[in-house]
């Protein structure tokens, strides 16, 4: 039981970085960034390859840089070349498949056998005892949270937030929205790649398909978290991403151990939940309208 809890917390913290990335791209910039799936694998692939070469710490930074590059390509497509934002993400994502294979040495998966990882390095120091994995995963995620909240209060951060809120006003305030979208997407994809990089070192492997559907799972985490924290401020959104991600991993663990839902169906369940959650405002409006219509027809007899 304790093992299940530990694993859920560890995975929750690591995948929370994807939810944080989506918070930045989807909530703040109002762009559905479909590069996410490919970027996650890119982070994992780069991380495993560089770790294999004997540099587990450098691997993290390499993955961050690779993720930022992927974000830049998507941003370039949509801000400079006029590709619609969703399509830009899909195009980059498709291209990334090949890049990811390349990064893993033209193989669909890569493993770390005896190499040192961030996790094994920390374990060797003895810090954290049995909880060293949570310590590392949580530490990285919380550090990113603090940096993200602080960043969004700076001049650039404010400009990025305003770009997602009212693009016209941003242009009239001497801020270049194309540049802000580029910075935002680079950061979001760097975070997604970081998630992939840490997960890969944790699981000691990278797989070309490990990113499939991660954008929807990340959104699910964010939405689950937001039902608890609300969407009033940036800090709440960041907390929502982390809490939501942990809750999601607990639900996942419960399903995995109790088998209430066959594990093969999990993605369908997640897709339905996310679809419903995003559709909720419209559904509520529609229901209210129907109630009004019925009330009116009862009264007026029309």
């Amino acid at each position: 039981m304790l093992y299940v809890v530990q694993t859920a917390l560890e995975l929750g913290f690591m995948y929370a970085l994807v939810a944080l990335a989506l918070f930045l791209s989807y909530r703040i910039l109002d762009i559905a960034d479909l590069t996410t799936d490919g970027t996650f694998v890119l982070g994992a692939a780069v991380s495993v390859t560089v770790t294999t070469a004997g540099h587990p710490v450098l691997a993290i930074f390499a993955a961050l840089a690779a993720g930022a590059c992927a974000g830049f390509v998507t941003a370039f497509l949509q801000t400079r070349l006029g590709v619609p934002s969703i399509l830009a993400g899909i195009v980059t994502n498709t291209g990334l498949y090949t890049v990811n294979l390349m990064a893993m040495g033209w193989s669909s998966n890569a493993s770390l056998l005896r190499q040192d990882t961030l996790f094994s390095l920390l374990k060797d120091t003895g810090i954290g005892g049995d909880w060293y994995e949570i310590l590392l995963a949580g530490g990285i995620t919380l550090l990113i949270c603090v940096l993200l909240v602080a960043f969004l209060k700076t001049r650039i951060g404010l400009s990025i937030r305003a770009t997602g809120d009212n693009k016209e006003m941003v242009r009239a305030s001497s801020v270049n929205p194309a540049l802000m979208i580029t910075i935002g997407l680079c950061m979001a994809n760097a975070m997604t790649a970081l998630s992939g990089a840490v997960v890969a070192q944790y699981q000691k492997s990278a797989d070309i398909n490990s990113g499939t559907g991660i954008v929807v799972i990340g959104l699910a985490c964010l939405i689950i978290g937001e039902t608890l924290t609300g969407r009033k401020s940036v800090a709440r959104g960041v907390v929502a991403a982390v809490i939501g991600s942990i809750i999601y991993r607990f639900i996942y663990a419960i399903i995995l151990t109790t088998k209430i839902v066959p594990i093969d169906c999990l993605k369908l369940v997640v897709a339905v939940i996310v679809g419903l959650a995003i559709a909720m405002p419209t559904l509520k409006e529609g229901a209210a309208f129907q109630r009004r219509k019925m009330a009116a027809s009862r009264k007026g007899g029309r």
Binding site: R155, L158, S159, N166, V170, R171, A172, V175, N176
Partner: protein
């Protein structure tokens, strides 16, 4: 200050919706000029402001601001020195950000070369509070609230403050009080006049109110069919009446003014 040389802009060229919105227009504003613009529906008033602001590039002609050719300068660079207000009060502010954050964003204009990673300082906040109190709307006590909670008039006043807090070289107002209720419109107009006078800002204001067109500022322009058909100032303007202005328009454009809103507001004045 502002010199427009023979500018021309056609929207949707080569289609059935082709529309020559500004057609060979020239205009010269002296520093401190405050010109009001009236004109018939589709005369090209908003297009003129859009061309100067850089919402699109003109097809022909050149735009020179303060001796600098800005014809091909992108909009976000022009907005460093050009402040702009729209008719829609929702256009000028970011609804999910607080009043303070919106002001900080507008204040970026002054922060050329300041570190992009710096945050809003206490000194900045004090300055914002002071500026907000000048509006006399009590907004200085609501700085942490999101702008989406403000009324249209309050948002427009805030936008006005944001556009002028760092005094721009040119301020452009596109019927910025038309969507407000009469009382609020009056108040925002008063604030506009105060601020423009205080900073001696060169200003272009589109209005549909003939009375405002004659009383505000020092110069009245009338537009029709993408051109300026009437440009009066000084004595001639001082002695002009709303009826006289309509008569002049008929003489200049060769037809009656067909802006329904203008006519409605003109009837009230006569």
């Amino acid at each position: 200050m502002l010199r427009l040389e023979n500018i021309k802009k056609t929207f949707n060229p080569g289609t059935v919706n082709e529309k020559c919105a500004v057609n060979g227009l020239s205009l010269h504003l002296k520093p401190g000029d405050f010109a009001t613009i009236v004109g018939s529906n589709g005369a090209g008033k908003s297009t003129l402001l859009g061309a100067v602001a850089g919402s699109f590039y003109v097809d022909e002609g050149s735009i020179i601001l303060d001796g600098k050719d800005i014809t091909f300068m992108p909009e976000h660079r022009r907005s460093k020195v050009i402040g702009r207000l729209f008719q829609d009060p929702l256009k000028g502010t970011a609804p999910h950000m607080t009043i303070e954050e919106n002001l900080a964003l507008a204040y970026l204009r002054s922060s050329e070369g300041k570190a992009p990673f710096s945050r809003i300082s206490r000194k900045d906040k004090e300055f914002f509070r002071e500026q907000l109190s000048l509006l006399g709307m009590g907004l200085e006590d609501r700085m942490k609230q999101p702008v989406g909670l403000l009324s249209g008039g309050q948002r427009q006043a805030l936008t006005l403050l944001m556009a002028t807090m760092v005094p721009p070289q040119l301020l452009m107002l596109d019927e910025h009080t038309a969507a407000l209720d009469p009382g609020t419109a009056e108040k925002v107009l008063e604030l506009t006049q105060d601020i423009v006078e205080r900073n001696h800002t060169t200003c272009l204001m589109v209005t549909h109110n003939m009375h405002q067109a004659l009383t505000m500022g020092n110069r009245t322009l009338m537009m029709d069919d993408g051109r300026i058909v009437l440009d009066i100032q000084g004595e001639e303007r001082k002695n002009m009446t709303v009826a006289g202005l309509l008569e002049k328009f008929r003489a200049g454009a060769g037809k009656d003014l067909d802006n329904d809103r203008i006519l409605l507001s003109a009837e009230k004045e006569m």
